[in-house]
Amino acid sequence: MKNWSHDDSMKRDELDTRIDEALQRQFQPPEKLSFTPRASAGGAGFRRPVVWAAALLVCTAGVLWWPSDAPLAPGVDPEGLAAEVARPERPNLIEIYEQIATFPDPVDDCRSGGASASVVRSLESRCGSSLELEPETARLLVGPFSSAEWPSGTMMAGYPDGPDEAPVVIVAECSDFQSCCIDLGAVGARGLQHFSTEHGGVVLTEITPHAEPRLLARLTARP
C-alpha cells in the first residue's frame, strides 16, 4: 500500500509551484488595457439589453457637463459614451435583507467593534466621507457584509431590540451612486420597510420589518 501522506508532504512544494505556473498560464492579463469606450460594444456577454431612460438622462448629462477644453486621452471619445451608456442592475432589497438577516453565526471579527472600523474605512475610501458610530451603537451592529445584489454597498446587520429579535439591515452607499442606480421600491411586498438618510456624501438605508427606523438616527456621517 502506498503511503500517500508521505508523498503528499514530499510533493507539496512542487505541486504548489505547478499550480502557480498553471494559474499564470491561464490568467495572464494583457500588458495594458487601454480605456476605449467604443471598443466595449463587442462584449455581448456584458451588454445591457435595456437602457433605462431616466438613467440615460442622468449619465448623458454627465457627459455633456464634460468641459470642452478637457484634454482627451487616446481612445476616449465623449460622443461614443452617450451611445454606450450601460446600467448596473438594480439590487433587490428583499434578497439583501434575507441574505444579511439570516447569515449564520457571524465570525467574531464581524461582531461589533470590527464592524465600525471596517465600514468607516470603506466609506472613507469610496465616498470621501466618514461614518460616525457611537460605541453604544457599534455594539448593536454586526458586519460589514457584502452582497452580490449590491456589491458596492457596505452592509451591516443591526440588532436594536436585542440579539434574539429580528434584525434590521443598514446599507451605506455613496450618494451619487445611490441617486442614479438604486431602486428603493417594492420592498413592502414582503412586509419590509426602508428608510434613507443622507449625511455628507453617504446615504444610509435601513431595511427593516418594523414600521419605523430603529438605527438610522443613531448613525451619522461627515464629509
Partner: protein
Amino acid sequence: MQGTGEDGTFMGMASASPFDFEPERPITPHEFAEQFGAVSRSLWTLAAGIAGDASDADDAVQEAALLAFQRRAQFRRGTNFAGWLATFVRHVVNNAGRKRTRRATHAVDPDSFAGLADEARAPIFAIDERGALREGSGAFDDEVSSALSELAPDARACLLLRVVLEHSYAEIAAILALPEGTVASHVHRARAALRERLQHEARVTRIR
C-alpha cells in the same frame, strides 16, 4: 509592482501627489485614463477571479471602466482609485453571472448532451498513478481550472492577484476592500483547497 501606503491606498496611482490640482476638482478624462492604465491588470485579474474564467475579463473591465468613467465626479482625489474601480468590476461580473444563470434555464436539445457526457467521462488527471506529477501542462491546467472554479469568488480573486500579479496582501486588501488578514486567509485556504483537490484526484485515479 506598486507599493502601498499606510492607509492602504496604492502609491503612485491613488494618491494626489502625481497630480497637482485643487483638491475639489473632479478627476479629468485624461487622469482617469492614466490611472486606469496603471491598475488595469489588477482589474482584469480581479474580473477573471470573480468570474472564475478569463474569457470575458476584457469586456468586464471595459464595461466597468465605462461605468466608473461616467461617475468619475464621485471619485475623491487621494482615495483608492483601484478599490473604487474594483467595485464596478464586481458589479459588472456579478450582473453578467446572474444573466447567464437566467439564460441557462431554458430547453436544450437532448442530443447536445451526448458529447458533453463523453467529455465528462474522459479522465483528466494532474498526478499520475504513482503520485508523481504528470508531464505536460494541458491536462494539469484543466484540472487546476476545474478546482479553481469550486472556490468562492473572493478566494479566487485573492489567489490570482497574489500568484499571477504577485501583489502583496496589503495591495490586494486595498483592491478588494478586505482586511489584510482576510486576504491572507483566502490565499492560504485557496492554495490548500487546490492542493487537496489535485491530490484527491490522484487518489481517485489510483482506486479506479
